[in-house]
Symmetry: C2
Subunit: 397 residues, 2 copies
Amino acid sequence: MTIDQTLAAITPQSRDEPDSGIVKAAMYGFTVPGVIPLWAGEGNLPTPEIFARPATEALLNGETFYTWQRGIPELRDALARYHQRTFGRVFSPENFFVTSGGMQSIQTIVQMVAGEGDEILIPTPAWPNYGGALRILGSRPVEVPMDFRNGRWILDLDRLFDTITPRTRAISLNSPSNPVGWTATLDELKAIRDECRKRGLWILGDEVYSRFYYGERGETRAPSFLDICDDEEQVLLANTFSKNWAMTGWRVGWLQAPKALGPAIERIIQVNSSGTPAFLQRGCVAALDHGDAFLAEQVAKARGNRDLVVRMLGDMPGVRFEVPKGAFYLFFALEGMTDGDLTVRRIIDEAKVGFAPGSTFGQGGEGYLRMCYLRDPAKIEEALTRFGDWLKNHRPS
Amino acid sequence: MTIDQTLAAITPQSRDEPDSGIVKAAMYGFTVPGVIPLWAGEGNLPTPEIFARPATEALLNGETFYTWQRGIPELRDALARYHQRTFGRVFSPENFFVTSGGMQSIQTIVQMVAGEGDEILIPTPAWPNYGGALRILGSRPVEVPMDFRNGRWILDLDRLFDTITPRTRAISLNSPSNPVGWTATLDELKAIRDECRKRGLWILGDEVYSRFYYGERGETRAPSFLDICDDEEQVLLANTFSKNWAMTGWRVGWLQAPKALGPAIERIIQVNSSGTPAFLQRGCVAALDHGDAFLAEQVAKARGNRDLVVRMLGDMPGVRFEVPKGAFYLFFALEGMTDGDLTVRRIIDEAKVGFAPGSTFGQGGEGYLRMCYLRDPAKIEEALTRFGDWLKNHRPS
């Protein structure tokens, strides 16, 4: 068969979904020697041995059989302990479900709440995988663009609520946000909660970057739906071990949901992945129970790097951004840029620095670039020095 | 919110999907001390250290970052080598895609070929997860029951082809089959291939048990679509490391597809799992390159156990079955049984033996029980002795 014939035989939604601009930048950049990669959302440290060792021991000890679809009880207990410590109230292990990564948490949630043609509201700029997961399943992501006004990103709640239609099933909220670092206040979270309660909508919360929060009062986490919602109401939270504990390559995450959904979640996990390796979950228990010091170092490094990139980019002409309140990305506008994909490729080739194009983050993203700054500070400084030099002699496309 | 209110707020397909009868039997049986569990499809050996060790080394060496969505190149190369050795012709690594288990291979395939309301034909009795994956995604599994006639399972190809409608997108075929052990002949595979070519349908092949084939001529594998199909035609094969190499708990599999689908598969993997841990893939390379001797032992053990269970069950009154040609299950009818779920629970309680109820395998399965015989032969013998004694004094429900 020809390529065209083969492609004509799959569903339109799987055929026509665009490639992620982050993946495209990375694939392009991998071929260019000497590039400093800042396109992906991960730090530069490997997983600490104290998290890895329990996993390797369990694997070598033969913990290699099918396991609990909801996750091993020890990990669900550890999740409850971690949340109790972090949020200052009691949690039940029965509200936690282990998944094969944050993306699979989102996939599971989408399969549970959105059928064909159902809509989920997503403030943008947003991580492109939300929309991708929905579109491939035949549901509809409805983008609600934030405004960048007076140097600040603002989510207009009236506009968000006005976008609700009879097909809307959920409001998705990523706070602190990838890519812009916007972080909802407790009042904003309450307003969203109240509207969702009134309209019978699900809240889909992505608080993956909750601990990467740069409050001015010594806070160790961002405001959370967990501060203001009941564990049995219509709230579904996707999370991951990836960012906090340098475990992107493990593909383990979790989701929090009302207990009543346990059987449905278990059935969906059964047909998505049939569970997450039990031996890997042993390492995740160690990360939760013994990872606070590592996490504190990660956050301190991210905060220092944020200040570094804010200072360096702040000195460059034609560059505009809001100082991010959370997560570990800088999302900056570049004056005169109309083709972000091309500019990203040119900066890779001409400056040997790898950004991600803003357009891949949906409405309001064109004209911007994203960099991840959870990297070695010396590499960040080198990368931005190169980029600053490039800006002096080149114009963006 | 009440449980009913919460359940009313999710999609009907995720709410109403029945629990797998295999999972229900296992959950029930876990609570009863001393039961010999034969409900699940896995062997009793842990993963050999020669496969585990490269994974633990890679994990401890810090191979803990995001990785290729299609799988690491070394594993795709090893898959091509393994297939070349097993099927006696050249394969390209570009036709192989690594997944987080055979179930995720199926999930990826379904997301690619079946939209809302599309139909996929599935001969039954069949593993319940096929239907579950389709229903949860809003597609329609169409069961085509096989006949058990004169002591043999027969797939009536005319009936199969007559079931095709304008909404049919694919024929799914599991050979050797779980649960009945039916194995398609090369002529049957050709007839299905020709019909699919004529009607523009996809073949969804599950040849997971291909190596567990008990031919009488020293064959080392079952007849395969790979013997008669072009790698670029409309064939998608789901496979797994689980069964051949005692790696059920690893959750790593692969799928084979036309090269033209690479970008679509990569996008679906991105939003399903965002890839499979690279360090685990190192162990899978070792299984493919150094696992032939272990696999040969597994198959020899399965063949010996098959003969044992055939002999023991063959002596019991009211038990009927076909001697399976492949896989490692015995699917047997029990005279007078009208409620398989209840009978399974009673046999767990009263005989301390754990089977799976045939009804969970779809049309034609009621009245049967399934046992997995890739276990320690002494345990099998003990289990069937208990079951034989039970049969003397009890009647099935």
